[in-house]
Subunit: 332 residues, 2 copies
C-alpha cells in the first residue's frame, strides 16, 4: 500500500455532539432507547435538549471520529462530509482540521442546519444518542471528490449514511471509484437498528464491493437475523474477505480468508463515556493495516485506542494517541 | 437575610468558552499574554481559532459561572446577561437554566454574535483567555430587571462589564436598585488589566456602593498600584466593609471591619484547568454567607469549590457540588 496520499479517507455524517449526563429514569421518561442511536426530528431534539442537564459540545460523527483517531495515532487521514454554514459547521470544520485530518467538503448555506447529536451518558458510562440528522445526510455525488478517493489506500464508509437516498448514492459512487482505482473499501455497520433498516442493501454491498467489514455483536446478529454469534461469524466469513467483529469487554474477533484471530479487550480502569469506542477501534485497526501489521497486532492497536477513548468524555481524544501508543509499545 | 427569592443575582458577560490545549510556545508565537484575559477582535479571534487545536465548547462567563456554582452547591441563583439569537446563545441559555439558575434576559436578534472566549490551557493547567466580547457588553439598563435585583439577598457584579459604557450604566443602575432595596452588593475585579483600564471608577464604586469586594492578588495590587500585598490589604480595609482576597495556593485573606481571617487553600491532587477557580471561590463564599456561616467557614466553602473546579475542564462543575460538599463536611 504505497504511493497514496492518505492512509484512509472516511465518508460519513458530520456531527457535533452535545454531551450531558442523565440517569436511567430520564431515558425511560423520555422514551429514549438506551445504548443505541435514536433518530430524532427537530421537535424532539428541542424537547430533549430543554429537559436534559448542562451539556458540553464536542465534534463527533462516527467516521469523522475514526479519521481523527487515525490522525491522532500518527496516520494520514481525510474526511468527506457535509456541514451547513452555521456555528456548529464552523466548530466541526475547525476541530477535524485541527486534529490533522484533511477536510475540504464545502459548507452549504440555507435552511438546513449542521447535524447534531444529543448524547446522554448514564452513570454506567453507557451512551444513548439522539441524533438530529441535519444537512449531513444530503451529501451528494458532487461532493465525493474522486481525487481524494483515488489517493487513499482505504476508503472507510459509515453505515449511518444509508439513512438517506442522496447519501447512499454518494456512497455507492465512492465504492465504484475506489474499486476502479484498486483501493480497498471498508464499511462499518454503525448500529443494529440501522442494519435493520437497510439489511438487504447492506448484504448486497458487502458481497459486491466491500473488502473490510466492521460490526459489533448486535450489528452482525441483526445483519444475519440470528441470535447465535458463531453462526453470524460463519456467515460473514463467506460474504467478505475481512470481517472485524467487536464485542465490547469480550474483545474482538477478526476473520480473514479462513483465518480466525481473537483479540482480548484492553483493561479499562474507569468507564467514563463509551462514546466513540467502536470508532476508535476502527481507527486503530485501520492504522495497523497502514503500518502493515498482521491482523492480531492491528486488532490490539484498535483495542488500545478504544480503551483510551472510553476513559474520556466524547469521541475525540484530548491527548495525542501516538505518544501513548508508543509508550505502551503498540507502535514503534 | 430572609424573605428574598434568590440568595444571589449575578450580572455579567454571557459567554461560551471554547477550550483547547496548547504549549507555552503557542502563546508566545501568537502574542497571547499568559494567565490573563486578553480582549480580542473578530479578526484576531479567527486567527487564533484557526491556529489552535481541537476545542470543546462549554458555557462560561465569570459571574455566570459563579451563579451556576451557587446553584450546584444548593443555593438559589439568578443571572442577568445578554446573548444573541444564535447557536451559542442557545447553548448559553440552555446550560445556565439546566444548571438551575433563573435566567430571563431576552436574546437579541441582529448582527452581533453571542460572546465567546478562546481559552488556551497550557500543560501546567494555567488558562489564558482570549475573549471576543460580542453582544454581552451591550447589556443596557432596560435589561436589568429591578424585581430580580430587589428579590436577591446579594447582587454580584463582574468587573469585566466595565469594558463598555452601556454595560457600565446598567451596572450602576443595579447598584442603585440594590442599595435602595437594602440588599448587599458584591463586586469582583475580574482581572488585573481590567482594573488597570478602570481604576478610578472602580475605586469610586467600591468606596460608595459596594459591600463585598472580591479580588485576587494581582487585581488588588493593580487597584492600589503597589507591589506590596500587605499595603494593598491595609488600604482595601479602609475602602470596603468586607474584602475577600484570593491568593491561589496561598489561600485567601478575608478582611472585615478590622477582623482578618486567613483561609488555607484546599489541597489539589491534579491541576487540570484553572478556568473558573476564582468564580467558584466566589460561589462558595457567597453561598456560605447565605447559610449565615462565619467568614472562615464561608472562605473554606469557597476554597473547596475552587479546588473542585480546578480538577475539571471548564468552569461549570460536571458533578453536583452540594453532594461533594456534604460528604466533605463543608455543608450540613
Amino acid at each position: 500500500m504505497t504511493g497514496a496520499q492518505f492512509d484512509v479517507v472516511a465518508i460519513g455524517n458530520a456531527i457535533v455532539d452535545i454531551i450531558g449526563r442523565c440517569d436511567d429514569g430520564f431515558l425511560e421518561r423520555h422514551g429514549a432507547s438506551k445504548g443505541i442511536m435514536n433518530l430524532v426530528d427537530t421537535d424532539r431534539v428541542a424537547t430533549l435538549y430543554s429537559a436534559m442537564g448542562p451539556g458540553i459540545e464536542i465534534s463527533g460523527g462516527s467516521a469523522a471520529n475514526t479519521a481523527a483517531g487515525i490522525a491522532s495515532l500518527g496516520g494520514r487521514a481525510a474526511f468527506i462530509g457535509k456541514v451547513a454554514e452555521d456555528e456548529f459547521g464552523c466548530i466541526f470544520r475547525h476541530d477535524i482540521r485541527a486534529a490533522g485530518v484533511a477536510f475540504n467538503t464545502p459548507a452549504v448555506a440555507g435552511e438546513r442546519a449542521t447535524s447534531r447529536s444529543l448524547i446522554l451518558v448514564t452513570p454506567d458510562g453507557q451512551r444513548t444518542m439522539n441524533t438530529f440528522l441535519g444537512i449531513s445526510t444530503e451529501l451528494d455525488q458532487g461532493e465525493v471528490d474522486p481525487a481524494v478517493i483515488q489517493n487513499a489506500n482505504i476508503v472507510y464508509l459509515e453505515g449511518y449514511l444509508f439513512d438517506r437516498d442522496e447519501a447512499k448514492a454518494a456512497f455507492r459512487q465512492a465504492v465504484d471509484i475506489a474499486n476502479k482505482a484498486g483501493r480497498r473499501v471498508a464499511l462499518t455497520l454503525s448500529d443494529a437498528f440501522c442494519v435493520n433498516r437497510h439489511r438487504a442493501e447492506f448484504l448486497q454491498l458487502i458481497r459486491s464491493g466491500i473488502g473490510i467489514l466492521f460490526a459489533n455483536e448486535s450489528e452482525i446478529l441483526s445483519l444475519y437475523e440470528t441470535e447465535n454469534f458463531e453462526e453470524a461469524a460463519r456467515r460473514v466469513a463467506q460474504d467478505t474477505p475481512l470481517a472485524v467483529l467487536t464485542r465490547s469487554e469480550k474483545g474482538s474477533l477478526i476473520i480473514s480468508n479462513g483465518e480466525r484471530v481473537e483479540v482480548a479487550a484492553e483493561p479499562i480502569s474507569k468507564v467514563v463515556d463509551t462514546t466513540g469506542a467502536g470508532d476508535l477501534y476502527a481507527a486503530g485497526f485501520l492504522f495497523g493495516l497502514a503500518l502493515d501489521y498482521d491482523l492480531a497486532a492491528a486488532g490490539r492497536l484498535g483495542s488500545f485506542a478504544a480503551a483510551e477513548i472510553i476513559g474520556q468524555i466524547g469521541a475525540r481524544s484530548e491527548v495525542k494517541l501516538s505518544n501513548l501508543a508508543r509508550i505502551r509499545g503498540f507502535i514503534g
